[in-house]
Amino acid sequence: MREAWRRIRAVAANTFLEAVRQKVFAVLLVFALVLLGGANYFAEFSFQEQFKFLKDLGYATISLTGLLVGLLGAAQLIPAEIERRTILTALCRPLRRWEFVVGKYLGLASLLGVMLGIMGAVFWAVLRWKEAQLIGAEGQAVAQAIQAEARDPRLWQAFWLIAAKLLVVCGIAVFFSTLATSTTFVVAMTLMVYLIGHLQSVAREQWLESGEAAGWALQAFLAAVALLVPDFNLYGLIDEIVAGNAVDGRATLQVIAYSLAYLGVLLAASAWLFEGRDL
C-alpha cells in the first residue's frame, strides 16, 4: 500500500506541476485577485450593503474561478494524456489504473486547493481592509457592527461549502475524462451535469410525487436524474450565509459529508470504467 501511495503521489505531483507550468491558471488567478481587490472600491452604499456586495462578489469570483480551474484542469487530465499519448509511457509502468485516476484527481484537487487558499487569503485581507476603512469613515460608534460583518465566522462555512462543491465538480470531470478521448466532451458533459445538478431537486420531487400519472419512461428519466446527478441545490447554504441568515453548522457538515460520499462513488466508478479501457 505504501508503494501504491508513492505512485499516486507521483502522478498527483506531476499533474499539479503541469497545471502550475501552464500560464492559463496563473492568468485566471490574477483576474480573480484583481476582481477580489477591486470589490473594495465600491463605496457608495451603507456599510452593511458594502459588505453584502463584497461577499456576493467575493464568493461569486471564487466559485467561478474554481469552476473554470476544475473544468480546464479536468480537461487536461486523462483525455489530454490520451491525445498526447503520454499515458502509454505512464501506464506501461507498474502503476495500477485506479492509482493513476486517483493521482490525477488529487493533483487537480491540490491545484484547486492552492488557488482557493490564495483567493481565500486575499478575500480575508480585503474584508479586513474594508473593516479598517469603514471604522475610520463611520467612527467607533458602529465599530462593533462593522467588525461583526467583517469577521463573521459563517464566512468560513461558506468557503468550505464552495470547496466541497468544486471538488465534486472535479470528480464529475474526472469521471467523464475516463470515458472520453476529447477534452471538449469532458468540459461540455461536466458543465451539463453541473447545470442539471441545480435542477436535480425538481426532478427528484417530480419523481417521488408523479406516481402513476407519469409514464414509465418519464419516471425512469426522473429517477435517473435524481439518483445519478448530484444535488447542487444543497450548496444553496452559501447564498443563505451571504444573505446574513444563520446556517446550522451541522447542516454544513452534512453537505460536506454528502460531497465526500458522492466523490467516493464518482472516483470508484471512474476507476472501474478506466480499468477495462483499451489505450
Partner: protein
C-alpha cells in the same frame, strides 16, 4: 527458465463503434522471446507490431489468447515490473525537464530517495544528457534527444526486458547508430531487447531473431543468420588483386562450373560513409 515473453494464439479485434463492425489487428500470434536476446518485430505500417507490443505491456486487452512476461500474465504489476518501454514517438510530458522525466518514471516504478537520484544522474550521463541538457524542458529537445531521454526513462528501474517501438524512426544517422550501439550494450549486460522497426537494414545490424508480421499475421520467424544466409552461394572479399588477376579469377571460377552472380568492388553503406564524413566528436 521461463521465456522473457511468451504469447499463444494472441488475437486482437477493435470495435469500430456505431455498428460499423470490427477490424482485426492481430490474428493468433504465437511468439517466444528468449531471455538475453535481441528480438525484432518487423512489418509494414498496420501489420500489428504496435498492437502486439501494447498487449504485452498490458495497455490493450487481448480479444483472445494469452501473453506472459517472465512467467507472469501480461498486464499484471509483476509483469510490468520486468519491462521498460520506449514508444515510437516521443510521447513524454514536455513540461518536464530531462531529469524530471526520468525521476517521474522512477517514482511510477516505485523508486524513491537517494537510490533514485543516483540512478537519474547515472542515466543522464549514459544517454549524454548530463549537465545543462538535463535541466532543460523536453519541449526544447531535438527528436534524438527526446528518444535518448525516453530510453533513460525506460531503463530507470533496471528492467529485465526493454521494449522499443520504432526506436530509430525520425532520428538522424548518428542518433540511430547510437541507439543501435545502446541496444548491443544492453544485450551485453544480459537484457532482453524487443524492438519493432520497418527500417530493415537497422534491424539486421542488431537483431538475433526476428518475426515478420503482415496484416496481423505472422509470415516468418527465425534467427537472422538462418533466414538471410544464402546457403547455395559463397562469397569472398579480397584485397590487393590487380585487374588482370580479377579476370583470371573469374575465368577460373567459370572453368570449374560456377556461375558468377556478382562481382566488383564492394560498396560501403551510405550510413557508414556519412558517419565517417562527420567530425569525430559528432559521430557519437
Amino acid at each position: 527458465m521461463t521465456p522473457a515473453v511468451w504469447t499463444r494464439s494472441l488475437r486482437k479485434e477493435f470495435k469500430l463503434g456505431w455498428g460499423r463492425g470490427r477490424v482485426l489487428a492481430l490474428e493468433g500470434l504465437d511468439l517466444e522471446v528468449r531471455r538475453g536476446e535481441v528480438f525484432g518485430l518487423l512489418g509494414p505500417n498496420g501489420s500489428g507490431k504496435s498492437t502486439a507490443m501494447k498487449m504485452i505491456l498490458g495497455l490493450l486487452r487481448p480479444t483472445s489468447g494469452r501473453a506472459e512476461v517472465c512467467g507472469c500474465r501480461a498486464g499484471t504489476l509483476a509483469a510490468r515490473r520486468q519491462i521498460g518501454f520506449l514508444p515510437e514517438n516521443p510521447y513524454f510530458p514536455v513540461f518536464l525537464t530531462g531529469a524530471e522525466l526520468i525521476r517521474y518514471y522512477g517514482k511510477l516504478s516505485g523508486m524513491g530517495g537517494r537510490g533514485l537520484e543516483g540512478r537519474v544522474q547515472e542515466l543522464l550521463s549514459l544517454v549524454r544528457l548530463g549537465g545543462e541538457a538535463g535541466r532543460r524542458p523536453l519541449r526544447t529537445y531535438s527528436k534524438g534527444m527526446l528518444q535518448r531521454a525516453g530510453l533513460a526513462g525506460a531503463l530507470v528501474s533496471d528492467p529485465e526486458i526493454i521494449m522499443l517501438d520504432e526506436p530509430t524512426a525520425g532520428v538522424d544517422p548518428a542518433g540511430s547508430r547510437e541507439i543501435r550501439d545502446l541496444i548491443r550494450e544492453l544485450k551485453e549486460r544480459g537484457k532482453t531487447v524487443i524492438f519493432s522497426s520497418h527500417l530493415l537494414e537497422q534491424v539486421e545490424d542488431v537483431a538475433d531473431r526476428v518475426i515478420i508480421l503482415h496484416r496481423g499475421e505472422k509470415l516468418r520467424e527465425g534467427r537472422l543468420d538462418d533466414l538471410l544466409t544464402q546457403t547455395g552461394e559463397w562469397q569472398v572479399r579480397a584485397k590487393g588483386l590487380a585487374e588482370a588477376q580479377h579476370r583470371e579469377l573469374r575465368a577460373w571460377l567459370i572453368q570449374r562450373g560456377a556461375e558468377v552472380v556478382q562481382e566488383g568492388a564492394p560498396r560501403e553503406r551510405l550510413e557508414d560513409y556519412f558517419l565517417r564524413s562527420l567530425p569525430e566528436k559528432e559521430r557519437r
